[in-house]
Symmetry: C2
Subunit: 134 residues, 2 copies
């Protein structure tokens, strides 16, 4: 099966440099006011971009719709993630995600059960940490 | 921005003919056992296919990733939905969705807060009802 070559969503707004390294775009799809107890956004990381180390009090689901990126849980190796992958991030696990060195990454991010909170941001992922994949 | 031309997910399993008219494929992405209190699937309707009238006790979110389809709430007109649309279906609203007459429809479906239940299936969408769009 094929699909047309346009991206599914527009880029949206630039993500905060306080929590993201490199250029990242966030398009909100479902907000806390929509009555689903769930937040959903589309996030595009340009090559080399990533978020800070962080946790989610009830976990998060990533649905990768385009490109190639990295996902790492604290104390484990960096994993390559790509279009079609679904990453189920457990509650309270310290992790980061982002684009690979040479490709952008587009994913839909889903935070369920937000009555328990959404995210706790931590330290930046340094170039040394990011480059450990190579 | 462009993305490659392959579908994001494989087709998965054929949907039950008890609740779907025409050929529909369901690929499970997140199950009730994954600990998110949320179910997520990718659904592909071939042209002309649709589900029965139904409700969700806590609503459902549709993220259309490819193609063109229809969405109708009971008593309202049939709406055209297409790639990039996000449909927020309120709790307990009787509705159906499916492909258009001439195009397949691919969407990610998200059921949050499943402790309240997932779906209540109702009558089939007849050809007469489906063809009212034309």
């Amino acid at each position: 099966m094929s699909q047309n070559t346009e991206a599914i969503f527009p880029h949206g707004e630039k993500a905060s440099p306080d929590y993201f390294s490199g250029t990242t775009w966030v398009k909100s799809l479902v907000t806390a006011n929509d009555g689903f107890n769930t937040i959903i956004s589309n996030v595009v990381f340009e090559a080399g971009a990533r978020n800070n180390w962080h946790t989610h009090p009830n976990g998060q689901i990533l649905i990768v719709t385009d490109g190639v990126g990295y996902y790492q849980e604290k104390g484990k190796d960096i994993l390559v993630i790509q279009k079609g992958d679904v990453i189920k991030i457990p509650a309270d696990v310290i992790h980061w995600h982002g684009a690979s060195h040479d490709s952008s990454l587009t994913h839909i991010v889903i935070n369920p059960n937000i009555q328990k909170g959404i995210v706790q941001w931590m330290d930046r992922v340094t170039d040394e940490e990011y480059n450990r994949f190579k």
